[in-house]
Symmetry: none
Subunit: 198 residues, 4 copies
DNA sequence: GATGAATGAGGTTTCATTCAT
DNA sequence: CATGAATGAAACCTCATTCAT
């Protein structure tokens, strides 16, 4: 469906890209298809973006920006690192659940891109990873997380776990409620597997 | 008749594919390049594989088969679930560290493939995930892992953590020793972040 | 949107195809060769035709359309079925003789195509066969052709004869004047072999 | 079905070729398929035939040889040119009707071959065309055919008519009885369309 | 004579990007 | 600003033929 809204073309194109990629898959999302969905001519795309890769990088940047901003806002309202982490997990799942297409694009489709693009995406992701790093630091300082933690490994565990769970959920066509599992995931990350029968 | 025996040519081609993909990247790995590296004619590839995708699926199948077999062997020697998990993590990292090219191919390049291929790869991965599931089950039964664990989430945490760490390590050009961190990762998964100051 | 209008490019490509096929033969007529002769890029072909087969079907359709139109026009000017047939035969040969390349393409090269294409060509030919059928009907009604004629066999005789003569002429490199034989052929079809010494 | 008969391999291969081409079509009849059906190795084909084209030429030669021989035999028993022609037409249809696969191969599939092969086939056909020529000559000499006949055109009419009718019959999946129409076709060729109301 | 594994040339089509209007 | 027709590079796979055994 082509809608000629009064959104600036830049936003129109990015939203069209999300939609087209979610519906057709990364490799079947030609520039011409995105242009058509955005209601602009193929050539117009190149007035707003350097090239196709730039659309995707910008897409990720824009959406991730909003993603991060919302999470930061909520996290800043609490002091306890453990609670911060709980909020981050719940909001991570929540934002994906609220945007069906974006979930598909970020969890599945964009990962098919070439390594150059993936490195750029990783660059953008760093802001998010930094938030996780800060929570870990805070937790250690507050004494709720173990002093001996390797912060990098801890962050990779947190992100790896959340991301794997999100990806599995998208691959199952988002059929179950992943947000409801946030607390369990939180508990898992905080307590690990152990029954602590020391 | 195409038989996937351990004939030299079949193995030659798969090993060439690993090498070519690691060196040139997924999208720049033409069949002709693989054939050249394997020392066979382009057409010979098609005596052993249905099509290009089949090379990649077979590659993953063969290598993952060995990967799993070795891990299973070691794990069966111990009873304690926690130790089993420790072995799995160490061997996972170890096998990637021992095969530089294969690490690049499985952690980075093969993930750029289209969804059809990714689904086939996931199918193969299931055998590995099943081993993790069995460790979790054993741990719960032995009382070393919490009864309340959601086994699926636990498995996703374990795999997500290991995979994220492995991918980061490969993206950093395998510059540090990931095997040395196996114990720390194990501890992280078993104990979580918490300092347990309950 | 691809419109089969009389835009220059569409016609350019078809005419180039006739020329290239006549000169190089059906199997040696690559799309790139046709594009070059038409003075367009390879990809431009696909803005005007679905695929290579579509070039050939369109070629036959366009040329046969003109062929039929011209014959119909002349035939409509006379009433006598016998004369209609005479005109059809003369014009059939004449149009082939006027277009050296097209004669080669339709009589020799296009017949090497696969069955799918041949069926499409046959479909187009039906319009021409229908004209022959109408002449036969008219002739029977006018009493100049025998009442007992099997119209289908009669049509097959007419078309088979004309086509065989045309093909032989093309295979002899169009070295003699086939148009001059039109009257003889007409006589042959009307009177048969018989000397009528009943 | 692969039958290891004690027929010489040469004949085995030709019969397999007829069968394979009739079933799969000209372009889908690879040498390996013919070899398989003949129950020999691919390489064995090249002990009996120079190349693939040679199989097809030999096939046509062998089968046409039998075809012609039978017709000649019957024709020699009568003197009247008109009757000779009647026999030729009936036997032409009859031999095609008796060999379903061969009819498909000669009327449809072999015509998709390249021009080089078609020229060789025409060379073989000449023996058959010569028989027709002799009938025409005899008819003129006997006074049953018109003196003024152009013998070449007459031969092209006869062969073109018979061939067109045979081809149409094969394209209609040989669903009706073409042999029954032989007399009508004969009459058509002898008397033409005309009702002779001079 | 017979085998069949190996060879390697060759072509259709897609799609990101440009640029004249 | 916007258009969209035109560009042209690039690769998977088939199959007739060979030749060492």
């Amino acid at each position: 469906m082509i809608l000629k809204t009064n959104k600036p073309k830049y936003t129109q194109i990015i939203d069209a890209a999300v939609n087209v990629i979610a519906e057709n898959g990364y490799h079947a999302s030609q520039v011409s298809k995105i242009a058509k969905k955005a209601g602009v001519a193929d050539g117009t795309i190149y007035l707003y973006f350097k090239n196709k890769e730039d659309i995707l990088v910008s897409l990720f940047q824009e959406k991730m920006g909003i993603f991060i901003e919302k999470i930061e806002k909520e996290i800043n309202d609490v002091d306890d690192a453990e609670k911060k982490l709980g909020i981050l997990i719940k909001m991570h799942f929540n934002q994906l659940a609220e945007n069906h297409d974006l979930a598909i694009v970020t969890q599945l489709e964009l990962r098919q891109s070439n390594i150059a693009l993936r490195l750029k995406i990783n660059e953008i992701l760093k802001k998010y990873l930094k938030i996780i790093d800060e929570i870990i630091d805070a937790g250690i300082n507050q004494g709720v997380f173990r002093k001996e933690l390797n912060p990098r490994l801890a962050r990779q565990m947190i992100f790896g776990t959340i991301d794997e769970i999100a990806t599995n959920w998208v691959m199952k066509d988002q059929k179950y409620n992943v947000v409801k599992q946030a607390d369990e995931v939180h508990e898992l990350i905080i307590q690990g597997l152990s029954s602590n029968v020391d």
